[in-house]
Amino acid sequence: MTTTAPTRTTPDQLSVPPDGRPYHDQPQWRNDFPIDWPQDEFVARRDFTKFLVLTSFAFVVGQVWIVLENFARRRRGRLPVRHIAREGSIPVGGAFVFSYPEAHDTCIAVRTGERTWVAYNQKCTHLACAVVPEVAKGSLHCPCHNGWFDLQTGTPTAGPPRRPLERIVLEIREGDIYAVDREIRA
């Protein structure tokens, strides 16, 4: 019995599969895990391109998610009016935490004067740590990355934050404090 040695079918082909058939007749796994270095380089680049296209799809999903979230935010309409405290219960320079508009949206209100209040969402605009009031310094401080915001306006004054805090619009009616709206600012 005689056996014939497998032969190359193309000049590019360095190694020959055991059954001697050309590469396009070979099972897929043999093409995906080549023995030849030049072919391996091609497959590695092709598969990396495939991975990048998958990443590209993930970015599209992220963009579509933002569009849907924005659409939902616009449809939500006007926020509810919520009673948050009695005016007399907080001294000048004092602060308290409340939730508005949803239970997980923690906000902070500070009494800056006899008839003046400011309120902001407590999430730092850098990485969402809770800001704490430093009334004596006229600031709100984020202790996570040493971010500072102006107490009167909520604009960032130092540290990594670049956007101002979300401002909560307050109304005082007959000694009661109500949260009536939210201002998202650039």
């Binding site: 091609f42 495939k50 590209s56 970015f59 924005n70």
Partner: protein
């Protein structure tokens, strides 16, 4: 008539395509971070155009990947 490439040529082509895809993916990453920043700041004007630009980048990437697989089969 569709041209058949040698393996060396195919490797060069796929490397060129990889470079283009990588550039487009970096552009998409920038678009996503800029759009998220605009959304969080309440700026709604850029959200839809940025999403469309990202879809166009993905379509280009997908087209290039399909081309790589078709070229490989030739």
């Amino acid at each position: 008539m569709k041209r058949s490439f040698s393996r060396q040529q195919k490797t060069t082509i796929v490397f060129g395509i990889l470079s283009i895809v990588l550039t487009l993916v970096v552009l998409q990453l920038w678009l996503l971070t800029a759009t998220m920043n605009a959304y969080l700041a309440g700026q709604q004007d850029v959200i839809v155009p940025a999403a469309l630009a990202s879809v166009v980048c993905f379509a280009l990437n997908l087209g290039l990947l399909v081309y790589v697989y078709r070229m490989e089969r030739r």
